[in-house]
């Protein structure tokens, strides 16, 4: 029996009732899959909680769907369709490009060309497996090439150019050193000689390939898979072009100085199109034919170019030094599968997290989709952190990151699905991973199967659910406790701003609202200013400067730099988002520390065990004492939980006036007794000295706070990822739930908040 494999994704990941949703399924070993819609009620099988619960929903989705194997194009590259074959010149021509190859040795790579691998036709400039520049031509029968002498040195800029004259058969291949003190991985003190100039007669001439002109890839096709791109390039490519003549030494010298060539067939000016708000995926051809190149799988723009000189550390200061575009052979932002079924939830469809459950034989896959009501219906909105879901999508930490086990203080517990995804290496990386050349991954999208948003999935490194599957614990409890809620998502908030929040009495943040855009911060701030009430029930929230790509909201961008718990570090000058022009990194480094908004900000993380909260003296003030109705004075709150056995754990946030916590904030409770596997986070470490772990540093803790805003608005914040996952314990009736009920009761009522009148100066006798 052949193994059946099912993978799928929904587009969009979150939709409003009444709007169509495409489900893409790839089936291997089955031509038909059974399909049903399920509502995801609880996502963890931990016996301390209610277990894994899903509920079948009657829909008009056909119970059996024809399905086929769908192929995924991995790797980023740029495509020029070139229908008029303008880039297949009959006579002499020159192609030239500035390149920064990051993995020159190993496999054959294409820099650019109109080359068909399967047809052996056309021409291309590339790098041979030995790591040397090569220009090759093919007439469909024979292939011939000219190779440069100098080996390419990884991550050093060179100008490369190949001229070919079919009349004489003469090919000329040049590699010209353009390294400076700033632009390359190593400096000019290294005695490398990067120059090379070879001339040779070729024994065949290029035939016009039935292929597009590709930058950073070659065209290939086979009967099974159809047309695709292969021989992908790793590294950066700056300005490049084609000229319909063999360029002279003087003309090459001019290009090496930064001039555009005269009378080009095409000149892809990678510095064109920058605005103060970023740059799109189209690489402009400023030549006469306007043969623009379209990025596939999002080549990374806003990268330093061959002529970068360090003074201007953002493309906004000097776009002419930001022609670098990074290509990766393992980038993936869109599987591009065809829909297996399109389904439109009825307008009155209940808001919630659903999944299309597809099965064939013993194989089952659940393709999650978040459904928002057609119009606001409940008083409570739960903001599902779709940005965070994407940032962590298909993380490889347990397999790839040496330091992961030390961070989480765990031996990973991997599942069969992990093994499968890791073996396939087909569905892309998360912003916690590195590309094959070591560069950090800055884009992540929902247009691909994502293992760790599946219900029941446990993050391998920690053996408990993370993000979406963990957030289901909160939804289960709200339902259990009888609260109606609407789901909205980060993407809704990013797109609609305040309007997405305004209809609700209270908005709840889920376990890990880590990735935030400026628009999301603004909307939350305006909501609070206007009397809105926010329950921040997460850890490490409002942390990374993130943006959804304006041309494709399925895809988010983040650059990790400066400080913070960062899986990678952007190269100098490459810290600005190509999609918005903002400096990325931590919000606190840009004047928007999360403390200013919700009173708390990231202070520690650890994954060995979680602890309870303990009431602090402020919790006995009448302004807030109502939050603790039904809770003993010294009762530990949340000494249980599905995540490591406590309500305060995993990632924790701290009250800090120095970072902008509102001065009237009440410190209600704090967690106690953390292990040294909870160290103080790096952004808090200015001088490094010993003893920054939980057993010695008082800043290692999670806080529970409360403050009011204008117009009866307020923030209740419990800064812990473990909080929501404590709710389902003890059948949902526990002291974490008691706190939640007290706050929800107050926050969903109109009018002034309880305790709001106790603003007088206290006159104490004690």
């Amino acid at each position: 029996m052949t193994d059946i494999r099912l993978f799928g994704y929904s587009d969009p990941l979150s939709a409003r009732a009444g709007e169509p949703i495409d489900f893409m399924v790839s089936a291997e070993g089955a031509s038909e899959v059974k399909a049903e819609l399920v509502r995801l009620v609880h996502g963890d099988f931990n016996p301390e909680g209610p277990g894994f619960i899903e509920e079948v929903i009657e829909t008009d989705i056909p119970p059996a769907l024809p399905a086929k194997r769908q192929y995924t194009q991995n790797g980023s590259f740029a495509r020029v369709t070139d229908p008029g074959a303008k880039l297949a010149p009959d006579g002499a021509f020159t192609i030239h490009a500035f390149i920064w190859p990051s993995l020159p040795v190993g496999s054959r790579q294409t820099i650019m060309g109109r080359w068909s691998v399967s047809g052996s036709k056309g021409y291309a400039l590339g790098i041979n497996p030995e790591g040397k520049l090569e220009f090759w031509v093919g007439d469909g029968v024979a292939v011939d090439q000219i190779t440069a002498d100098a080996p390419l040195v990884p991550k050093v800029w060179v100008l490369v150019a190949a001229s070919f004259d079919p009349a004489t058969g003469e090919a000329r291949l040049r590699q010209i050193d353009v390294q400076n003190s700033w632009n390359s991985h190593i400096g000019p003190v290294t005695p490398y000689d990067h120059n090379s100039h070879t001339v040779q007669k070729l024994r065949c001439t290029p035939a016009t390939a039935d292929a597009p002109f590709l930058i950073a890839a070659s065209h290939e096709e086979n009967p099974e898979r159809g047309r695709f791109a292969s021989m992908l390039f790793n590294g950066k490519i700056d300005r490049s072009g084609i000229v319909a003549r063999a360029l002279t030494a003087d003309e090459m010298g001019a290009i090496a100085k930064g001039d555009a060539p005269a009378e080009p067939l095409a000149y892809w000016d990678t510095t064109a199109g920058y605005t103060d708000r970023g740059v799109g995926p189209i690489i402009q051809d400023t030549g006469p034919n306007a043969l623009h190149a379209e990025g596939v799988n999002r080549p990374v723009r806003a990268m330093t170019g061959w002529n970068w000189t360090g003074r201007d550390d953002s493309f906004r200061l000097n776009p002419s030094q930001y022609g670098g575009i990074a290509y990766h052979d393992d980038a993936l932002t869109d599987c591009g599968w065809s829909p297996t079924v399109t389904w439109t939830p009825p307008k009155d469809f209940r808001s919630g997290v659903y999944a299309l459950k597809v099965s064939a034989g013993d194989t089952v896959d659940r393709i999650p989709v978040i459904i928002r009501p057609d119009a606001p219906r409940a008083k409570i909105a739960v903001q599902m952190s779709t940005f965070t879901y994407l940032a962590y999508a298909n993380e490889h930490l347990s397999f790839d990151a040496q330091i992961a086990q030390a961070i989480v203080a765990h031996t990973p517990v991997i599942s069969g699905d992990d093994l499968e995804y890791n073996k396939l290496q087909e569905f892309g990386l998360s912003t916690y991973d590195h590309h094959s050349d070591g560069a950090g991954v800055c884009y992540s999208s929902w247009k691909r199967p994502i293992i760790n948003i599946r219900p029941g999935y446990r993050m391998a490194g920690m053996n408990f659910p993370w993000a979406l599957p963990a957030d289901l614990s909160l939804l289960w409890w709200l339902e259990h406790a009888g609260y109606d809620y609407d789901l909205i998502t980060d993407h809704d908030l990013d797109r609609e701003g305040l309007a997405a929040l305004a209809p609700y009495k209270t908005v709840i943040n889920v376990t890990h609202p880590e990735y935030y855009s400026e628009g999301m911060l603004d909307a939350t701030e305006q909501y609070l200013q206007g009397g809105g009430r926010v329950m921040y029930l997460g850890g490490n929230g409002y942390y990374w400067v993130t943006a959804a790509c304006p041309d494709d909201p399925a895809c988010v961008e983040v650059r990790k730099l400066d400080s913070g718990s960062r899986a990678w570090q952007a190269e100098p000058g490459e810290g600005y988002l190509a999609t918005t022009g903002e400096r990325s990194g931590l919000w606190r480094n840009r004047g928007r520390a999360p403390q200013k908004l919700v009173g708390l900000g990231f202070t520690t993380e650890g994954m060995d065990r979680a602890e309870p909260f303990e009431r602090m003296p402020d919790s006995f003030h009448k302004r807030v004492a109502w939050i603790f109705d039904g809770i003993g004075d010294e009762e530990l709150i949340g000494d249980f939980g599905l995540a490591l056995g406590g309500a305060a754990g995993v990632e924790l946030d701290r009250y800090d006036l120095a970072l902008g916590t509102p001065p009237h904030t009440m410190l209600l409770a704090s967690s106690i007794d953390h292990t040294d596997n909870y160290p103080l986070v790096s952004e808090e470490v200015t001088y490094a000295f010993p003893g920054r772990g939980g057993s010695q540093d008082p800043q290692v803790r999670g806080d529970m706070i409360y403050f009011t805003t204008t117009e009866s608005g307020a923030v209740f914040a419990a800064g812990s990822i473990g909080w929501s996952q404590a709710l389902p314990c003890k059948g949902g009736e526990n002291n974490v739930g008691t706190v939640m009920r007290n706050v929800l009761k107050a926050f969903t009522n109109d009018g002034p908040l309880p305790g709001a009148s106790y603003t007088g100066a206290e006159k104490h006798w004690r």
Binding site: Y192, S196, Q402, T411, I414, L419, N422, R609, T675
Partner: protein, 508 residues
């Protein structure tokens, strides 16, 4: 343990390398009619100096050219007797090269090589002597005879394996000899055909000009054989056969991917046989006669000695072997019979000490040196311990050397911390508040490198059933299962990983 000694390492380069200027234009010439360059120059960055150097990666063409040119220019100054020795060497070298194609490239263990030469020689000579065909046509008749005879001999090669086929071909040679000796027409001359016409005029025969002309002819014959070698071995046919060379499974694999390697073997055999036919015709012309001696076993064994001494499967082996044996056998003729013993001794010496003949000695020496270095290193370096200067030359990231030293010392300290109490503490609560000693040991384990790092595998979704695996550290390479033990409690699994790691630590 031996005393730790630090030997200085480092060596001046002995190889002469070009120091090219990168911005200078360099025209790359090619061998006409091919895509090959004359010499295989490659630029590298010397990893000691980072300077650019131009290396001749394949020096064989250079050695061939020097050798052949020397032979061509020195021979005219040799005495007459030596000229004929050189000529005979060229002829034997040609035969050997073609034989190498059959045995090495095609992998057919045929001992009928001289029989093919002899049959072609007899037919070509007979055509000349009895039918009056002018001598230039002998160079056409010879290969045709070789082709046909080769095709007949090739037929059973696909049916019979190794030794049986070798015996068969030896039998064929003997049959040829007996047949020729018993031919009534040739009885008078003892089976020989004499007075064969030749490219050497009759009155120059055995005179210096005749010897020189004979040498030029033999030299060209050897060049021709080398050309055949090059075209067959290094082009399509040879490449096809190399795919299937190493084992029987490879043959099956080659067939599965559509390489008809039986056909390729037969083609090589037949082409070589035709070329041997040319040698046969030349042989008859060179001596102006042909005798049954060509089919004799001693001739065959002499040829075999050349192959064994030079090294099977390579052209340079065939030529060098032919040179050594010919010089002893024909050049030192005054030694008398002991020279044959000398050949035998050399042959035995080479087979005992050199795996692949004299021409394989260099690689064998390198292997030997590497093995010795490995043994010495293993004695000098503790497992996972610090690297000695010799090993450090092979580690690119020098920080790695410090890590090794540091980790070795750290491990020694941690080993002392492993006590039954510490193990019991972990067993009680693998994820708890730990003592300082246990925290240090655990942190060392968790920071370990990725290759072969332990992970726990949940064997079925949502079930508490675990086993221990170790990840590969290479993207896309699946983890391996460490052992077949299963655990039904995650705490047990954590502790089992801990015990494995403690064991690894104590063993290191």
């Amino acid at each position: 343990m031996t005393e730790k000694r630090f030997y200085q390492v480092g060596r001046k380069p002995w190889e002469w390398r070009l120091k090219p200027a990168g911005d200078a234009e360099r025209a790359r010439g090619r061998v006409p009619g091919t895509r090959r360059h004359w010499l295989k120059w490659r630029d590298v960055h010397n990893d000691k100096s980072l300077k650019r150097e131009r290396v001749m990666v394949d020096k064989k063409p250079l050695w061939w050219t020097i050798g052949l040119v020397l032979l061509l220019f020195i021979t005219p100054f040799l005495p007459n007797s030596m000229i004929s020795v050189v000529s005979i060497f060229c002829i034997y070298a040609a035969i050997n090269i073609l034989w190498t194609l059959i045995i090495g490239t095609a992998g057919i263990f045929s001992l009928a090589t001289l029989a093919v030469v002899g049959v072609s020689a007899y037919i070509a000579a007979a055509a000349n002597v009895y039918l009056g065909v002018p001598w230039p046509f002998m160079l056409i008749i010879g290969p045709m005879a070789g082709l046909i005879f080769g095709a007949i001999l090739a037929a059973p090669s696909t049916r019979l394996d190794g030794l049986y086929y070798a015996l068969l071909t030896m039998g064929v040679a003997e049959i040829c000899r007996v047949f020729v000796v018993q031919l009534r027409a040739l009885t008078a001359s003892g089976g020989a055909i004499t007075n064969v016409d030749s490219f050497i005029p009759e009155d120059w025969f055995l005179q210096r000009p005749g010897l020189l002309l004979g040498f030029v002819g033999a030299f060209l014959l050897m060049l021709g054989a080398l050309l055949v070698w090059r075209l067959v071995n290094s082009e399509r046919l040879g490449m096809l056969l190399r795919v299937a060379k190493t084992s029987r499974e490879d043959e099956a694999f080659a067939e599965a991917v559509g390489i008809d390697f039986r056909r390729a073997r037969l083609m090589v055999f037949i082409i070589s046989s035709a070329a041997l036919g040319v040698v046969g015709a030349f042989y008859a012309m060179y001596y102006r006669s042909i005798s049954p001696q060509i089919f004799s076993l001693d001739q065959l064994l002499l040829l075999f000695a050349m192959m064994v001494i030079g090294g099977l499967g390579r052209a340079e082996g065939a030529v060098v072997g032919a040179a050594i044996v010919t010089i002893i056998d024909k050049g030192l003729i005054e030694l008398g019979p002991p020279r044959i013993i000398l050949v035998a001794l050399i042959m035995i010496g080479v087979t005992v000490f050199a795996r692949e003949g004299l021409m394989g000695a260099r690689n064998q020496f390198r292997d030997f040196r590497n093995r010795k270095a490995g043994e010495r290193r293993a004695r000098r370096t503790e497992k996972g311990g610090e690297a000695m200067p010799e090993e450090a030359t092979e580690v690119h990231d020098k920080q790695e050397l410090y890590y090794r030293r540091f980790n070795k010392r750290l491990r020694d300290k941690l080993k002392d911390m492993i006590t039954p109490e510490l193990i019991a503490e972990h067993q009680r609560d693998p994820l708890g508040h730990h003592s300082d000693a246990l925290a240090r040991v655990l942190n060392f384990f968790r920071r370990g490198e990725m290759a072969d790092k332990y992970v726990i595998h949940r064997m079925k979704p949502a079930e508490e059933k675990f086993r221990i695996m170790a990840v590969s550290g290479a993207r896309g390479m699946p983890p391996r299962v460490v052992d077949d033990r299963e655990y039904s409690d995650i705490k047990e699994a954590y502790h089992a990983v801990f015990l494995l790691r403690v064991n690894d630590l104590l063993e290191s």
